[in-house]
């Protein structure tokens, strides 16, 4: 396994929006270089429009960089070698309301190359891990926001990925759901998997991550280690505010 789960080298991404006459351009990230060490929890903080979601989509191969190089476990993120090692939870994932959680998971399991008894076992394990087992008989339309987020996490965990990419995993959840998701992520991290999560909640990132990247207007402003923010007066919040101002 590569020492780094993810590496960015001089990456640039510009969005082009077609207009009636010509187009407008917006640079989301510029000359971005960083590494995510394998087996660690790394947080990503930044204000709206700082480039957090762009980074996550580049890692998942949903966007292609305009310049620079992105590697996931040493492979191109567009290839199946990298994708088979990645589990992605987008912000507010959608599932068809008429299906039961196991049906949704079976579909995504098949897309991840699982089949037969292996698929059944993976669905069962993902539902158990995310606490969805008691709700197995319900339809997605009956799910609360917290349960939908658990289902989102379950689909990301199905194929036992080495790297979990989580975009705002606790966005809009109630305190109990946040607590449960945090416990779950801590347990996944204890299994030695790499977690890369973005959040607007500094306290959540502070509790989970061992290292935090702070993005400001598409550039990496600071990389902070746990020891640094634990020693700093005001903790991670003070470091973040200082960095983005």
């Amino acid at each position: 396994m590569s020492q780094h789960a993810v590496s960015f080298a001089g990456v640039e991404k510009t969005y082009r929006r077609p207009r009636l006459l010509g187009a407008s351009y917006h640079t989301a990230i510029k000359d971005l270089s960083f590494e995510i060490p394998a087996g660690e929890v790394t947080g990503l903080l930044g204000l709206n429009g700082a480039g957090k979601t762009t980074i996550m989509k580049l890692i998942c191969g949903l966007l292609f960089p305009d310049a620079g190089r992105v590697k996931v476990f040493g492979h191109s993120p567009s290839g199946s070698e990298a994708k088979s090692k990645v589990g992605f939870l987008p912000e507010l994932p959608y599932f068809p309301p008429q299906v039961r959680p196991s049906q949704a998971l079976e579909y995504y399991g098949r897309l991840s190359g699982l089949s037969g008894a292996g698929l059944g076992a993976a669905v069962e394990a993902a539902m158990r891990k995310t606490g969805l087992e008691p709700h197995a008989g319900k339809r997605v339309s009956e799910f609360s926001k917290g349960m939908l987020q658990r289902l989102g996490l379950a689909q990301a965990l199905l194929h036992s990925p080495d790297l979990l990419i989580l975009d705002e995993p606790v966005s809009g959840l109630d305190p109990l759901a946040i607590h449960d998701i945090r416990q779950l992520l801590a347990a996944i991290s204890a299994e030695g998997r790499t977690i890369f999560l973005s959040s607007h909640s500094i306290s959540e990132v502070e509790k989970l991550a061992g290292r935090v990247l702070i993005m400001v207007r598409g550039r990496l402003e600071r990389t902070v280690r746990r020891a640094e923010w634990e020693a700093a007066p005001g903790g991670l919040e003070a470091i973040f505010v200082e960095a983005v101002r």
Partner: protein, 254 residues
């Protein structure tokens, strides 16, 4: 390839189930029943040609209903998957884009085939109630409609990947479908005209499929099987549109 075929099938089966569960599918089914029943009234007014009118009118309504659903579905499905971020969960997995597109297309065609089969059953039941048997070339007419739906659905997928909205895809595909039924007339006009007009019409002949090839009951005697050219043309147009759509989706970012 052996690893990817189950993925194609998974996408197709999921797409088919989602289509069937969609409330618009139920609405179309109710509308189809009402429309086919309306053909009974038209048949009664035709007096001694009741059987012919009842069968032709019913078949035409079935094709139009299936077309409306197929176009509605094909023009909105990729857009909807992108808007709901469902596509993120698919393309962040080792799913080749060609497999996803082939699965979606197969799911749409399976839905169209189911719609035609159910409507055909309703239609035959009504014919039986009026005391008529199965019209000549009936199965071929349904196969022809399905081939047409294959051509138009894959074209709508292709258009939906560069058009700005589902409505514009519907309009462009609708024009394509209508123009495809006037291929013979276009050819005649191209032969009659000269200069730039002739060139434009000759280009249109190559850019628009001849959908009249798929009308089995238009053939002399109204009992002919579809010609091999119809199958070849359907395969060529469907494959052409699929490849065009694949070229676009391979470059698309989400």
């Amino acid at each position: 390839m052996r690893k990817t075929l189950p993925v194609v099938w998974a996408v197709a089966a999921n797409s088919f189930m989602e289509n069937v569960r969609n409330r618009f599918f139920t609405l179309f089914a109710v509308f189809a029943f009402a429309a086919i029943y309306a053909s009974v009234l038209a048949g009664v007014m035709a007096v001694d040609q009741e059987a012919r009118v009842l069968s032709d009118f019913g078949l035409a309504l079935m094709e139009l209903t299936a077309l409306a659903y197929a176009l509605f579905n094909a023009s909105s499905v990729l857009l909807r998957e992108a808007e709901t971020k469902t596509i993120y969960l698919v393309f962040s997995r080792p799913v080749p884009r060609w497999a996803y597109l082939a699965g979606k297309l197969a799911g749409s065609l399976l839905t169209s085939a189911l719609m035609l089969a159910v409507m055909g059953l309703m239609h035959l039941l009504l014919l039986k109630l009026r005391g008529f048997g199965v019209p000549p070339a009936y199965a071929w007419a349904l196969v022809g409609s399905l081939l047409k739906l294959g051509v138009i659905t894959s074209f709508a997928y292709f258009v939906s990947l560069f058009s700005t909205s589902a409505v514009s895809t519907l309009v462009i595909s609708g024009i394509f479908w209508t123009a495809g039924h006037f291929a013979a007339e276009t050819r005649f006009l191209a032969e009659q005209s000269a200069g730039a007009k002739s060139l434009a019409l000759k280009a249109a002949i190559w850019l628009i499929p001849n959908l009249q090839l798929f009308n089995a009951r238009d053939a002399a005697g109204a009992a002919a099987a579809l010609a091999p050219a119809a199958f070849l043309s359907a395969a060529a147009w469907t494959a052409g549109s699929y490849l065009g759509a694949l070229w676009l989706i391979s470059r698309k970012e989400f």
